[in-house]
């Protein structure tokens, strides 16, 4: 269970989140919907520890996680796919996927088990595994970012506007991949942000709205 309670976050002194509470149960698929600037990305960055909580708490499976430094959140089992993909362009696709698992110094066997699982879920990644990430299209990059988040997201996976800027055909494939995740990862809590609820309707079980840094409808 990933639970955020009354989270307040400021960026450069301006309040961006004002008491955001949400929760994603294990196996839950929650959509966080809001306009640009509503606080979707900020919520995910706060969940990743990239922005400090001014108030409120983050609880992951009953453990307080609000004070855990950003670089330890992957170790807690939270995977994150930022909106801008943020792949490392000079690395191959496979090295991008491997990086977070290697940083955690997971045993080799476990790393390759996870890599195989990601390739099984997202078979197209295998096709461009040896390519440099810089050469990917935006849509392909989003797929890789999803795969990379899955490499360490054993408890929770946070996807920031995965459909933003995807060509229709790719968006369809991405949605299919998300649907496959449901069966393949029954214990992982998945939180997806999007500006419009339409794309996610069939993929999630809960939709919450965020507006000007506050949850407006759950």
């Amino acid at each position: 269970m990933l639970r955020l309670e009354g989270a307040a976050v400021e960026i450069a002194g301006a309040p961006v989140l004002r008491g955001v509470s949400l929760q994603v149960p294990p196996g839950g698929r929650v959509a966080l919907i809001g306009r640009n600037g509503a606080g979707k990305t900020t919520t995910l960055r706060a969940l990743m520890g990239l922005l400090p909580l001014q108030a409120g708490r983050l609880v992951l499976d009953g453990q307080e996680a609000g004070e855990v430094p950003a670089h330890h959140r992957a170790r807690l089992g939270i995977g994150y796919a930022p909106e801008e993909r943020k792949l490392f362009g000079s690395f191959t696709v496979q090295d991008n996927l491997l990086l977070p698992a290697q940083v955690l110094s997971l045993p080799k066997a476990e790393v390759s088990r996870r890599l195989d699982a990601v390739y099984a879920l997202l078979p197209e990644l295998k096709d461009f595994a040896p390519r440099k990430a810089a050469g990917l299209s935006g849509g392909q990059g989003k797929m890789v970012a999803l795969g990379r988040a899955l490499m360490v997201g054993t408890r929770a996976v946070l996807l920031d506007e995965p459909f933003q800027g995807l060509a229709p055909a790719l968006a369809l494939r991405y949605a299919e991949a998300l649907a496959r995740l449901r069966a393949a990862l029954p214990d992982v809590a998945i939180l997806i942000t999007e500006s419009s609820p339409d794309l996610l309707r069939a993929l999630v079980d809960t939709t919450i709205q965020i507006e000007r840094g506050e949850i407006s409808a759950a």
Binding site: L50, A70, H71, R73, F88, G89, D95, V103
Partner: protein
């Protein structure tokens, strides 16, 4: 052609001098480049580390010699002194100063590192005085080599011919290998490309930054230590080096390791040709090269506009 046959030796000397000079400048520039990559702070005080590396190496070498150490020991002493300077000053400067400046305005960062540069410059005068310090034991011990050049033979010190370029090439190879093929290197690249994404991948960016800064500081000190036997150390040596390595980094493009080597060579050779052919232009030539490159390629010779490569 007539000029060349008359001045063949000059050309040969300029080539050899340029090569050894480029080697020392490369060490400083590549460290500056690494540090800028992870910290995004242009560290003016990087030049002080070059000077302190040189002075520390000379002091340690002279001290060892006074105890009757054999002359060959001078070479490992140069290396040891730079590791010492990097390991002692690197973490202190990074943690106490640069880390706090990371998210500030670039102008403020420049001012603060410039202030640090002035402080270190004074400290250096306090410790080593203003009289030239000379430690040329390694240079003398290795002797000279007769380098055939066309019909001429140029006597050149073995130290400048082999040791300086050799260490620079080894540094280039090791850095390129580490950054590309080791996990630590990939973590450095990841922090350079995107600090926040790197942290989200589980990378301790603060630790990586301190490590990189320490390595960069040690490389600057090594540049100074290696150059020490070839020059007499005087106040101001740090200033001229930092300005020159800025020129190298700008010419190469930020984030370029191999590019820094090529740019160092270009600028080193340009400068030494000026010294032999038109000494009045010695100071101008490196910057003329930089300006010429930046006019046509603002991102530098090897810089990639969007994705950085290290």
């Amino acid at each position: 052609m007539a000029w060349l046959s008359e001045n063949g030796i000059l050309v040969g000397l300029a080539l050899l001098d340029g090569l050894s000079y480029a080697a020392a400048v490369f060490m400083v520039a590549v460290g500056l480049n690494l540090v800028f990559g992870v910290l995004r702070v242009l560290n003016v005080a990087h030049g002080s580390l070059y000077a302190i590396g040189g002075y520390a190496a000379a002091s340690l070498g002279l001290f060892a010699a006074s105890l009757g150490a054999p002359p060959w020991l001078g070479l490992p002493i140069l290396l040891a002194a730079s590791v010492l300077v990097g390991a002692l000053l690197g973490p202190v400067i990074e943690r106490l100063l640069l880390r706090r400046m990371q998210d500030r305005e670039p102008v403020l960062q420049l001012l603060v590192t410039f202030a640090l540069f002035m402080i270190l410059e004074d400290l250096q005068k306090l410790v080593w005085g203003v009289q030239p310090v000379v430690f040329d034991a390694p240079l003398k011990w290795l002797g000279t080599v007769d380098v055939p050049f066309g019909t001429d033979v140029i006597p050149f010190t073995a130290y400048q011919l082999y040791v300086l370029p050799g260490v620079a090439l080894a540094t280039l190879a090791i850095l390129a290998y580490v950054l590309r093929y080791t996990l630590t290197g990939r973590m450095v690249v990841a922090v350079t490309v995107d600090r926040e994404a790197a942290r989200a991948m589980g990378i301790d960016a603060a630790k990586v930054t301190m490590l990189t800064f320490t390595v960069g500081a040690a490389l600057a000190a090594l540049g100074g230590a290696l150059a020490a036997p070839t020059v007499s150390l005087v106040p101001g040596v740090g200033a001229s080096t930092i300005v020159l390595s800025f020129a190298v980094v700008a010419t190469a493009g930020l984030g370029q390791i191999e590019g820094a080597a090529v740019a160092a060579l270009l600028i080193g050779l340009g400068r030494s040709f000026a010294v032999y052919v038109a000494p009045e232009f010695e100071v101008v030539v490196p910057y003329a090269i930089m300006v010429a490159v930046l006019l046509f390629r603002p991102q530098g010779l090897f810089g990639v506009a969007e994705t950085r490569r290290i």
